[in-house]
């Protein structure tokens, strides 16, 4: 016994000296953030055009790591620069405790982002084409979508998974023109009697490619309605050899009420032409095609299924002098299916992340 104790003490002592050599972690606070200033000029149908400046988003990230496994992460966002009487918004978009056990398994709980589509979790301006986020990520997958919830995640042989229990949507707020967008509760005193259940799987072991899908179900409830909502979504992004190609498709089914399905997809293609001139600045012209119908199926049918259906062509340019700063300009035309009404948009802006 005596020998064992001596041996143990020796082992622990040498170990603690030795393991310090490889202990690179120290508790640390992290500050990060992003923001974007936009110029938006829109001309809807025959109406006169309207142009505005909008500091759309100012976001500060604050995190603290107590240990390699336990950390806290948060994001506070000011939208449209000024908050008063329903103008602008101040939001706590993320605030969660994360436990990272290993690559195979971790969990988080708090104010989190559903893992649905490419942009909701990764929405910093240098990461997407176009001054505004793709219209698909406004009307089909409503980004930024945040609220109370918990998730488990991990990576097994290149398959990245996340399973989530998330706050319910408010079915009273579903609309023909915006699908589930208005139903997000944003972590504000949400009905705790039900959940949105969500599962996402991505494959990442081909360099440059992310391909995956998610499936979510929610028995959404409001004061006057109760609707089963199913969100099915597929996404793929390839980014390598100066080429960027993106495809996303999403379908939302509703089992009762007037609105029965929202559906849309978009394709992006961009190429970094600065590579021809050996420049370090990235100059990426891109083209996007979107097809969106927030009322793709309705109970009564008829014109409503065409009124909210449009397609959109966009051409634009993203210029990144460094990876954390982007200057953007784009032009797009939307055509409504019902009456071929044409809307035109010119946007430019600057965005950053750190």
């Amino acid at each position: 016994m005596k020998h064992f104790i001596l041996f143990s003490i020796l082992l622990i002592l040498t170990q603690s000296i030795y393991s310090q050599d490889y202990n690179f972690f120290e508790p640390k606070a992290t500050i990060a953030g992003y923001g974007e200033l936009h110029y938006n000029n829109e001309k809807i149908g025959d109406a006169p055009s309207k142009a505005i400046w909008d500091f759309h988003r100012f976001v500060l990230f604050f995190g603290y790591s107590w240990s390699e496994k336990w950390s806290f992460k948060s994001e506070v966002e000011l939208e449209h620069n000024f908050v008063k009487n329903g103008q602008g918004e101040l939001e706590l978009e993320q605030a969660y405790i994360n436990y990272h056990h290993s690559d195979l398994f971790g969990f988080n709980v708090g104010i989190i982002l559903p893992s649905i589509g490419l942009i909701n979790e990764y929405h910093e301006p240098p990461l997407f084409f176009g001054t505004e986020r793709p219209v698909y990520h406004n009307l089909i997958i409503p980004t930024t979508w945040f609220g109370s919830g918990a998730s488990v995640y991990g990576n097994i042989n290149g398959f990245d998974y996340r399973l989530m229990l998330f706050e319910t949507l408010n079915s009273d707020k579903f609309t023909f023109s915006q699908g589930i967008r208005g139903g997000r509760m944003k972590g504000y005193k949400t009905d705790a009697s039900r959940f949105l259940y969500s599962a996402r799987l991505d494959y990442l072991n081909i360099p440059g490619l992310k391909i995956g899908a998610s499936f979510s179900f929610n028995n959404a409830k409001g004061d006057t309605t109760n609707v089963d909502v199913t969100i099915t979504e597929f996404h793929a992004k390839y980014e390598a050899n100066n080429l960027t190609a993106i495809f996303e498709f999403g379908n939302i089914s509703y089992n009762s009420g007037e609105l029965r399905a929202s559906r849309g997809y978009y394709i992006d293609l961009g190429y970094n032409i600065a590579s021809f001139f050996e420049l370090n600045t990235k100059i990426i012209p891109f083209v996007r095609y979107s097809d969106i119908n927030t009322a793709a199926e309705t109970f009564s049918g008829g014109d409503n299924e065409k009124r909210y259906h449009f397609n959109e062509w966009m051409i634009g340019l993203n210029v990144k002098p460094i990876d954390n700063i982007v200057f953007k300009v784009d032009y797009s035309e939307q055509v409504r299916k019902l009456d071929d009404r044409k809307s035109k948009f010119i946007n430019f802006g600057v965005g950053y992340m750190f």
């Binding site: 050599d21 640390k28 992290t30 950390s71 360099p207 980014e239 990876d323």
Partner: protein
């Protein structure tokens, strides 16, 4: 019996806290394959050299020292390993780059990843892109290094980290 249990607990504790070192050894063995001897030293980087490399790579060193492994077969020096850290969004990423004796990258590996997002950077496929690169290579994400959607910060950070070590190794060789 009690001693046995204590001993098992102790050993598993030791084994657990040694995982970085074990993984480094395993990676070196896998990369150089043959029966190798490993010489380990903590390499202090002189300020002047440190500043010049940091400027070229656009990233600061994690500290004033990196871990250098010299790989021998018999008495012949056949290659090197360099272990260092870079910061992801908020936590250190520990990575090892292995070189032949001319400074060309043979293998690169993420030894420990601690962030909840971006774990795909550990894949063999992503790391294999660095094989064959040397100090003349670009190390530019999107150009000669593919990105990983959802791991932008880690990808940029590790790519710059590998560039830094490659420049540093060239100095070590040319000494």
């Amino acid at each position: 019996m009690l001693i046995k249990i204590l001993f098992t607990v102790l050993i598993s504790f030791v084994a657990y806290s040694q995982d970085i070192q074990e993984k480094v050894n395993m990676s070196l063995q896998n990369c150089f394959v043959k029966d190798i001897q490993i010489d380990f030293e903590k390499l202090q980087i002189k300020n002047e050299l440190k500043n010049s490399i940091e400027k070229k790579a656009g990233q600061k060193f994690f500290s004033n020292e990196v871990y250098l492994y010299k790989i021998f077969i018999g008495k012949k020096l056949i290659g090197y390993g360099l272990l260092d850290n870079v910061y992801g969004k908020s936590l250190p990423i520990t990575f090892l780059v292995m070189y032949d004796n001319t400074g060309k990258i043979l293998c690169s590996e993420i030894i420990k990843y601690r962030e909840p997002y971006g774990g795909a950077i550990q894949s063999k496929e992503w790391n294999d892109q660095f094989k064959g690169k040397n100090m003349e290579s670009d190390f530019v994400v999107g150009k000669d290094v593919s990105g990983i959607s959802g791991a932008t910060i880690s990808v940029n950070s590790v790519t710059k980290g590998i560039k830094k070590l490659t420049l540093l190794l060239n100095e070590i060789i040319s000494k």
